[in-house]
Amino acid sequence: MAEPARQTEAILEVRGLHKHYPLTQGIVFKKQVGAVRAVDGVDLDLAAGETLGIVGESGCGKSTLARLLVHLERPTAGVIRYKGEDITKLSGRALKAVRRNIQMVFQDPYTSLNPRMTVGDIIGEPYEIHPEVAPKGDRRQKVQDLLDVVGLNPEYINRYPHQFSGGQRQRIGIARGLALQPEIIVADEPVSALDVSVQAQVVNLLDKLQNEFGLSYVFIAHDLSIVRHISDRVGVMYLGRIVEIGKDAEIYDHPTHPYTQALLSAVPVPDPTAREHRERILLTGDVPSPANIPSGCRFRTRCWKARQRCAQEVPLLAVPAVFRDDRSPAAHDSACHFAEEKHVVPLEPGPVT
């Protein structure tokens, strides 16, 4: 699970992915006056059996990225290669076949399930679209098996979503995602709507399913602790771009991008003793609007290290020159001209029990 991703075959490759939503003015004669650059040049690889976590604040484009990956939106530019084949240009039957293999789990288990359908119909609906996966006679049995796999009682097949709690509904959403035996699951904030005690149950379930079915996950969340728990590699997004990406220990224990450092230092640690030993980086101001992205480095308006060069030159996502000959964990991709390593997460935690 923890092998470096680059040596193994990438099941999903994303290059230069952009999604711009045009801003128009005028009612009869619409003219474009600008664009919301929700996703603005994302590169990433997902290896088979790997979990890639994507973290970022609201508005950074992580949900748009998820929708692009499962082809709910068409990108403005860029390619998404699934097993070497660019899926952004596909349509009709070829697209349908690819979609079967990339499924999504949504954030809100209250609105992503149709209240007028039974659980059996919800989980079985993918089979209507892809009848080759399960012939009609087998479907009920398949749905019951899925309910069992996600830890729900198979007898609940005729119940409606409102008869379930939030955690149980999310299990239904996961069962629906699994129905077509996909290889990749894109989960967009799958546990953020759940209570703490239930969150852990769902995270454990996702872990178990990955081992059982050899799934690859793209796990999108704003909660850095959960992302670390579940991910092999983590990418940090800011204003439509990945600013730092690497193995979980590289990002959490050896961050080199100032935004990652600020983000990590702001996470409340549930341990008052550990809190006293750490440095807090308080960012000033708010995230700029994606319709008006700063020139050069997009983080420079909130960065305490920003200099002239940051306004002129866009930093590339690569191993920074300072660390290039280094074998330390700090040598991972980071889009900053002035990258330096900084420990922000206290290394010696006070044990809870």
């Binding site: 604040e57 609201s58 709690s165 955690g167 149980q168 209570d195 703490v196 005690s197 239930v198 969150q199 852990a200 149950q201 995270v203 454990n204 872990d207 704003h222 850095l224 602790s225 959960i226 670390r228 728990h229 579940i230 979980d248 220990a249 959490y252 600020a262 983000l263 990590l264 702001a266 996470v267 409340p268 640690v269 549930p270 341990d271 008052p272 003793t273 550990a274 809190r275 807090r280 308080l282 960012l283 708010d286 995230v287 997460v345 206290p346 290394l347 935690p349 006070g350 809870v352 029990t353």
Partner: protein, 336 residues
């Protein structure tokens, strides 16, 4: 402000809630949302009330503020003593005087708590017009002052803007400014940072803590996030199924929880500094308030549950160092 054992019952208590019971009449029966909550807050103290959804933490706060929807809600017992006066015995107009002037509330969702068709200046100034009888012009100047105080940049230029023109973090600052306007003795903040991003959350929490220290207010911080609590609270009260199951100074509870529910909660959160194997998960689901289990409400999910737990409701046992735990077997939870 470290909570020494002796300050467990700090005096003089600013607010004392005693054995409060609240229920809701619903079509399906009576939902018992609050079942005998007792807590107190001293001047300048921060009490965190921690619980999951449906634990009764917000309902208790609404009862204290006097903004509970009645009906369907009903306060069926208990006292809420604020500076020695029982708020539940006051008339509505007297209650109104207390609210705003003496105690104020900050809500989770700033966008829906602010009026979208009034400028923030008008909304902030309204406090002074209504409670202090100021002129509109003076009230507007006061509004600018308040916005400066919560560090909204360019306050004078932005005072005429509308809520949608502010970012989430700025709107929450406006909510804080509004709560502080009349310098109340007590502030109740109900999930003040839940809707915000981590970097903004840290800014807002810091601001709130700083203003609280400056004005020596009592603060009740309602949250489900154990991390936020660790940063600012003096004491914690953990709620489950409408009761307080554990109360302790903040440092102690993280080091050695004395209730299996608290313990389970602490173990079930993934940590930033560790990559664990499997997360500990509390089995089962939070109780349905229409059918709270008899005895200890937590027993169906509890690893320590025994026969006694099914029949006898545990009182809040005294735990050394000024703590309390509503578990028959707290010693096991505490030391085991």
């Amino acid at each position: 402000m470290t909570a020494a054992p002796a300050s467990f019952e700090p005096s003089p208590a600013l607010l004392e809630v005693r054995d409060l019971h609240v229920e809701f009449r619903t079509r399906d029966g009576v939902a018992r949302a609050v079942n005998g909550v007792t807590y107190s807050v001293a001047e300048g103290e921060t009490l965190a009330v921690l619980g999951e959804s449906g634990s009764g933490k917000s309902v208790t706060a609404q009862a204290v503020m006097g903004i509970l929807d009645m009906p369907p809600g009903r306060i069926t017992g208990g006292e809420i003593l604020f500076q020695g006066r029982d708020l539940l015995k006051l008339k509505e107009d007297e209650r109104r005087e207390v609210r705003g002037r003496e105690m104020a509330m900050i809500f989770q969702d700033a966008l829906s708590s602010l009026n979208p068709v009034l400028s923030v200046g008008e909304q902030l100034g309204e406090m002074f017009v209504v409670h202090r009888g100021m002129s509109r012009k003076d009230a507007r100047n006061k509004a600018v002052e308040l916005m400066d105080r919560v560090r909204i940049p360019a306050a004078r230029e932005r005072v005429g803007q509308y809520p949608h023109q502010f970012s989430g973090g700025m709107r929450q600052r406006i909510m804080i400014a509004m709560a502080l306007a009349l310098e109340p003795a007590l502030i109740i903040a109900d999930e003040p940072t839940t809707a915000l991003d981590v970097t903004v959350q840290a800014q807002v929490m810091d601001l709130l803590a700083e203003l609280q220290r400056e004005l020596a207010m009592g603060l009740i911080l309602i949250t489900h996030d154990l991390g936020v609590v660790a940063d600012v609270a003096d004491r914690i009260a953990v709620m489950y199924a409408g009761r307080i199951v554990e109360t302790a100074p903040v440092h102690d509870i993280y080091k050695a929880p004395a209730h299996p529910y608290t313990k389970g909660l602490l173990e079930s959160i993934p940590r930033l500094d560790q990559k664990g194997q499997e997360l500990y998960a509390i089995k089962g689901l939070p109780p349905n308030l229409l059918h709270i289990p008899p005895g200890c409400a937590f027993h169906p999910r509890c690893p320590l549950g025994r026969d006694m737990c099914r029949t006898d409701e545990p009182p809040l046992y005294d735990v050394p160092d000024g703590r309390g735990s509503a578990c028959h077997f707290w010693q096991e939870a505490h030391h085991g």
